[in-house]
């Protein structure tokens, strides 16, 4: 009852006033298209722009064509323009404007053949629209559209979402456009997460095994504490055999990732299950149209073939990508091979409606070296050559590795409503299978039959399941107290039907001999959220909302005994549980100056239960997280400062989790340890200079502890420090692009650097690990349609430990006496890796380089 009443009340609040036309704020000129003959006369393109109530260009049509190449260049530039929105009184309006764009020949004879013609932008930055009648946009309210007797557009485009990211819901809410930073060498789309501050990735399972994510002082495992989505499709897998929330993003083709939204902390009402440390959303798009084919070869026989294609006539939301990877890996038993395909089509079903069809398929197989004992490496006791490097990358059990399959299909329906409202509906289906084999303890866990030796601790984890769901949000085109779109309603419905199982495998032959757990799990997650935004004062904006989630778990435990005290029984048992959780979240944004903003956020989040826990009836349905942060955001750079922008943020935060999970070597998955808490801070800065230099740097600190029994929840500093979680993380990504002339030919070039600094990690027994410093560099040069590149990862060839653990193991053999003293184990990080890449751009489109 409350919501309809609120909606009706807001609808009735729209005032009437004269229309004030839009004012350009950012209007970088278009780039002269490549491959066109030198101009002898001016070329004119007239664009019709639809400007939404935020002043963003939400749609571009060509009203007057200047030729396909010029039309495309003009449209590409127009999608990046920003305006002060048109207003009726104080109320922003969605309007259409016609903007001529001129491409003119040089005023003087050109000495060098490479000199580009002058391009006339539609507006000088900061210029009032009526100062230049030629460029002045003509504002027309949608209720009074432009005459339609003009020449029909040769083609048109619709901007996917907004051209600029929506305002952050918290200081730690990052909308990260990959852009030029795609030049920094990265192994997979997962590595893009490093663009967010306070993130560290580690992998103990091989190329194909999901990365362990460390975020904001959380060991978020392979996804247990970080919600991951791909354009709205959830990637976390409930009750996965390897760990609840396991999320593998290897299948995402990096070239198709347009941006990421990383929300650190549970501050956005749309964040759902697993959003304990935060939420990561990969947003796909292919800005470079045409066909791009790329082949790489490098160290350890690594081969990579990719083909991405975006039809020039369509928007960046239409693409096809294929990626094949294969290699021997950087040490014994690390070979991998995988193939993935992602395709998306955006269909316009009307002037205000788009339908987006997406599909992805992925298959992978990989071997893994697992972990090794530090003492065995130091004493050169591993079954490899005796030199330190061979020992460092050696292994115990070659029967480790796994295989993955994933198939995704989704349909997204986006309707633009009157007055800037939106209605987005997403339906998806995911089919998933994974089998992995890992041996963390050697010969320790088995209780063999009398007279037999230990059979080995290699554990096979199997997961097969289907997920279907819908997700939607409705932003009514309301205006309330001068604020457009103050309300958003959203919902999720997700059903998972999965089979999750873990079995011990014999050391000899690999046959399973014991079942650790075997569950058929069905879960239904229904959730809804309501968020509100209000600006009671000119300098104050309040955002808040609440999310409600319900979970129904139905677990069929297939691993019960076939006999108990009362006699024989069926070795199966069913368990059901139901849970409900409400998560309020709020943010206060104080605009201290036009560029400096102070944001303070607080919120609750939740992680659903693991079915393996439910089958033992030991845990409450949820782990709850309470989090708060406060910090500053500063942005410099607009039309008045040319093409340079700087954005900096910094905040302090505190988080408390009611039930945390840590890795257990005995089961090879995460097990509960009780409450935990974090205190931390971060700072980040991103510099963009003339679309040539792009630098992002961040530094984060976090301290994660287990609170003392009975201690106040405010004492977030006290407690036993959780080991392995890095306390200090630094990251720099930088890419510099330019052009030069070689043999009278234009050659585009790019230099890129990625640097990770991982401070000493706390280890058990009051120790610290060694710090880690990794440098990755890349260079590329492009001439016409051909590009050559070289990348070097781990430039200094550091020997680093990607994952570290401390526990008891026995890898000496089934009959050898076991060491029972917990000792350090680690998985080796990759050494220096060099790759060369040849890229060919077909359907040539202007790009740098």
């Amino acid at each position: 009852m409350f919501i309809p009443t609120l909606v009706l009340w807001l609808l009735s609040a729209s005032p009437e006033a004269p229309v004030i036309p839009p004012v350009p704020v950012e209007a970088a000129p278009p780039v002269m298209p490549a491959g066109v003959p030198a101009l002898t006369q001016a070329v004119r393109v007239v664009l019709r722009l639809t400007l939404d109530t935020g002043g963003e260009v939400s749609r571009v049509e060509v009203r007057e064509s200047g030729g396909e190449a010029f039309d495309r260049a003009a449209m590409a530039a127009a999608t990046r323009w920003r305006f002060e929105p048109a207003r009726r009184g104080d109320v922003p309006l969605e309007v259409q404007v016609d903007v001529p764009v001129m491409f003119e020949p040089p005023a003087a004879p050109v000495e060098a053949p490479t000199a580009a013609p002058v391009v006339t932008a539609p507006e000088a930055p900061g210029q009032a629209p009526n100062e230049s009648p030629e460029a002045a946009p003509v504002a027309t309210a949608l209720a009074d559209p432009m005459p339609t007797d003009a020449k029909p557009p040769a083609f048109s485009t619709t901007v996917r979402g907004r051209t600029a990211a929506p305002p952050p819901v918290a200081v730690g809410d990052f909308h990260i456009t990959v852009g030029q930073l795609a030049d920094v060498p990265r192994n997979s789309a997962t590595d893009l997460l490093l663009l967010a501050p306070g993130v560290m990735l580690a992998n103990h399972g091989g190329e194909g095994h999901a990365e362990t994510v460390y975020l904001r002082g959380f060991d978020a495992g392979e996804g247990k504490d970080v919600e991951m989505r791909l354009d709205g499709v959830p990637l976390n897998e409930v009750s996965h055999a390897h760990g609840h929330g396991y999320a593998d993003t290897y299948f995402i083709i990096p070239e198709l990732v347009k941006s990421l939204r990383v929300t650190e902390g549970p501050y956005d009402p749309s964040q759902g299950d697993f959003g304990v440390a935060g939420t990561v959303e990969y947003q796909l798009g292919l800005e470079r149209r045409g066909i791009t084919a790329s082949a790489s070869y490098g160290s350890f026989a690594s081969r990579r073939l990719s083909l991405v294609w975006g039809p020039p006539e369509s928007t960046d939301a239409t693409f096809v990508g294929v990626l094949l990877r294969q290699g021997h890996g950087f040490g014994p038993n690390r070979a991998y091979a995988n193939a993935g395909l992602m395709a998306q089509t955006e269909l316009r079903l009307g002037p205000e409606t788009r339908l987006r069809l997406f599909g992805a398929s992925y298959g992978a197989r990989f071997s893994s070296a697992g972990v090794v004992r530090e003492t065995d490496v130091v004493d050169a006791r591993l079954p490899c050559a005796q030199d330190p490097d061979s020992q460092f990358f050696c292994l115990y059990d070659p029967n480790q590795g796994g295989a993955n399959q994933r198939h995704i299909a989704s349909v997204e329906w986006v309707s633009r409503l009157e007055r800037g409202g939106r209605f987005v509906q997403l339906a998806y289906a995911v089919s998933r299978q994974m089998r992995s084999r890992e041996n963390f303890t050697g010969f320790l866990q088995d209780t063999p039959p009398i007279g037999e030796a230990q059979r080995g601790d290699n554990t096979e984890q199997f997961y097969q399941g289907t997920t279907v769901g819908v997700r939607g949000r409705y932003t009514p085109g309301l205006v309330w107290a001068g604020q457009p779109q103050p309300v958003e309603l959203g919902y999720v419905a997700r059903y998972d039907n999965v089979h999750t199982r873990a079995r011990r495998l014999r050391d000899k032959g690999g046959a399973p001999y014991a079942t650790v757990f075997d569950n058929q799990v069905r879960t239904t997650n229904l959730g809804a959220w309501l968020s509100l935004r209000s600006s009671p004062l000119p300098w104050l904006t309040l955002r808040g909302g609440v999310r409600v989630d319900t979970f129904l778990f139905a677990v069929e435990d297939l691993n019960r005994p076939d006999e108990d005290r009362q006699g024989e029984r069926i070795p199966e048992e069913s368990v059901e549980a139901y849970g409900f959780f409400a998560s309020p979240r709020a943010t206060a944004e104080v605009r201290l100056t036009p560029r400096l903003t102070w944001l303070t956020s607080a919120g609750l989040g939740a992680r659903s239960s693991d079915a393996a826990g439910l089958s033992d009836a030991e845990f409450a349905p949820y782990a709850r997280v309470t989090s708060g942060e406060t910090g500053l955001g500063w942005r410099w750079g607009d039309a008045a400062h040319g093409a340079t922008t700087v954005e900096a943020r910094g905040a302090v935060f505190a988080t408390r989790v009611s039930q945390d999970l840590v890795f257990s070597e005995t089961t090879g998955r995460n097990q509960p340890i009780g409450p935990s808490q974090r205190l931390g801070a971060f700072g980040s800065v991103r510099l963009l200079w003339h679309e040539r230099l792009d630098v992002q740097a961040s530094l984060a600190w976090a301290r994660a502890t287990q609170p003392l029994p009975g201690a106040s929840s405010w004492r977030v500093w006290d407690g036993t420090v959780l080991p392995y979680i890095p306390q200090v993380l630094g990251r720099v990504d930088a890419a510099w692009r330019g052009t030069t002339t070689v043999l009278q030919q234009d050659v585009g070039w790019s230099l890129a650097l990625g640097h990770s600094a991982i401070g000493p990690r706390p280890l058990p027994l009051d120790r610290y690990s060694d710090p880690i410093f990794l440098f990755d560099v890349g260079a590329r040069a492009r001439w016409r349609a051909v590009e050559l590149g070289v990348s070097v990862e781990n430039l200094l060839d550091a020997r680093w430990r990607e994952s570290e653990f401390n526990y008891v193991s026995n890898f000496r053999g089934p009959d050898a006496p076991a060491s029972l003293l917990a000792t350090r184990h680690f998985s080796a990080g990759a050494p220096r890796t060099v790759r060369g890449t040849l890229t060919v751009y077909l359907d040539l489109q202007e790009d740098k380089p």
Binding site: T375, G451, L763, D766, L796, A798, V808, A816, P817, L821
Partner: protein, 277 residues
């Protein structure tokens, strides 16, 4: 040979590492709890009460035993944080245990000693008579600072890991030779014991100790052969007419007594010697 590039890389890494480590370590230790130590581990043959010679003692059955050969394979040795359940306890505690006994029915509840604070994780062939009661140092061992209250060790046939060192044992777990004398009767004997798997029958559990493990201390496992002969009845052995040693076989009472006694919790003990100031 180390290349200049490697030197530069190391210097660079150290520089950066130093800066980061300085920032972090300004707060002291990592705060994860516990403290890593290294201490020495050794073996010693205990003297019997009122004796001053190793391998010479009088049994409770009145036999004066003098060992001429005594070798055994032992190890690994584990030092646990939990006290032995067989440790003598206060009367009130024992009374309480009788009235409300602990339940050991569930998996994981059986006494396991808790966390291992120190260990010698290899086998060793120990000649009980070689060092005349002095400690034989095995080597340095990693551990965790704290009070160890019980120990456990394994007795087993020599494995291939021992190499040539194990050959002297000829595949047996324990060799004893000597003589037992009572009144006018002298029984020379030779005896070998085997401790084949399962591991439950190889393990000596619940040995009470009090060792406040710390850096650079010395933990000595004391073998108490005089306790192994408790209840042995040498008079039941038949001495060959030529006076040769009796080959004590598994069918004999002496063999059975030793098989049991060697694996009793009081067949061994341990002592901690803190580092000299």
């Amino acid at each position: 040979m180390t290349s200049p590039v490697r030197h530069t890389r190391r210097a660079f890494t150290l520089l950066l590492g130093g800066a980061l480590a300085a920032g972090v370590n300004a707060c002291g230790l990592s705060g994860t709890g516990g403290r890593s130590i290294t201490f020495r581990m050794g073996l010693r043959t205990a003297l019997a009460p009122d004796e001053d010679t190793v391998g010479v003692f009088t049994t409770d059955t009145g036999w004066r035993v003098e060992l001429t050969t005594a070798r055994m394979v032992l190890g690994p040795i584990y030092l646990f944080e939990k006290a032995s359940p067989l440790q003598p306890q206060a009367l009130l505690r024992r009374l309480g245990d009788v009235l409300l006994p602990g339940a050991h029915a569930h998996e994981g509840d059986f006494f396991s000693g808790g966390r291992v604070l120190g260990e010698w994780d290899r086998e060793v062939v120990f000649d009980l008579l070689a060092d005349a009661g002095q400690a034989h140092v095995l080597g340095r061992s990693p551990g965790i600072a704290g009070m160890a209250r019980s120990l456990s060790l394994l007795l087993q046939p020599p494995s291939g890991a021992l190499g040539a060192e194990g050959e002297v044992m000829q595949g047996r777990s324990l060799f004893l030779a000597g003589s037992a004398t009572r009144a006018e009767v002298r029984v020379p004997f030779r005896l070998a014991l085997d401790f084949p798997p399962p591991v439950e029958l190889q393990r000596v559990d619940f040995v009470p100790i009090q060792a406040d493990l710390d850096e650079e201390g010395f933990f000595v496992l004391e073998v108490q052969p005089h306790r192994w002969f408790t209840g042995t009845r040498f008079e039941r052995l038949v001495v060959p007419a030529d006076g040769a040693p009796v080959e004590v076989g598994p069918e004999t009472q002496v063999h059975r007594a030793l098989s049991v006694n060697v694996r009793r919790f009081d067949a061994f003990t341990g002592a901690w010697e803190p580092p000299e100031a």
